[in-house]
Symmetry: C2
Subunit: 112 residues, 2 copies
DNA sequence: GGACACTACTTCGCATCGCGCACTACTGTG
DNA sequence: CACAGTAGTGCGCGATGCGAAGTAGTGTCC
């Protein structure tokens, strides 16, 4: 598909979305996936979330701990650390700036 | 760079930005590049714009005509056609929906 | 007049990233 | 025992933006 589809829009924003999903509460991959879908990101794939968590962890923004579950497989919880919270704020600002720039572009008339 | 950078944010949105830049006035690649940068998309690369124009044209959203310039090389102008305007509207809505979802996520407290 | 800079466009190959698919593994149910 | 639901991993693909290089036309400066 050539025009705008959500898949492409997610690029670069999934990081931010996952950080945001972890802001108030630790979570494990499958759960974060549900949070994002509930929030409105319906088309997000499971592999994308796991991959993103991996990347954020490797970037030093998350800590992780495994909780063996009595009901079902083990759960790998992720938690925002200080760097993660910093990054969440920083990225959030970048996002807002970018979004408002785009809104201006879309709303632009020949004021210039 | 692992965290959010504008390059990744642009993914999928450049199409929309270029369509928007052409909404009020025809333009050629180099000029569109300037419009986008002026609008606030400072980091957009020239090759990206040309590539995007090519893609949008191949998708049937643009028409094009070459204007030989007296001062400098020829200019390949692009113009939105009906399909392009439709797509601009459609993509704009998708963008707004997506952006507001992200804003909710970022503003979310444990209201849920 | 030749080096340089600016405009304008094209092509090439690279890196990132989200995704679909397949696979493992554990639990509970029909 | 097969199957569905939960939970995680790995692999390869496709789309896309980007940097760098190249071509070409014009004007400027030494």
């Amino acid at each position: 598909m050539l025009p705008v589809d959500t898949t492409q829009l997610l690029k670069g924003v999934l990081d931010l979305a996952v950080l945001a999903a972890l802001r108030d509460e630790d979570g494990y991959g499958y759960d974060i996936l549900r949070r994002l879908r509930t929030a409105g990101l319906g088309e997000v794939g499971d592999a994308s979330v796991y991959g993103t968590l991996r990347r954020l962890f490797n970037a030093g923004l998350l800590t992780t701990y495994v909780v063996p579950s009595v009901e079902g497989p083990h759960r790998k919880y992720y938690s925002l650390n200080a760097a993660g919270r910093d990054e969440l704020q920083r990225s959030g600002k970048i996002w807002h700036g970018f979004a408002s720039t785009m809104d201006d572009l879309l709303r632009e008339r020949e004021t210039a």
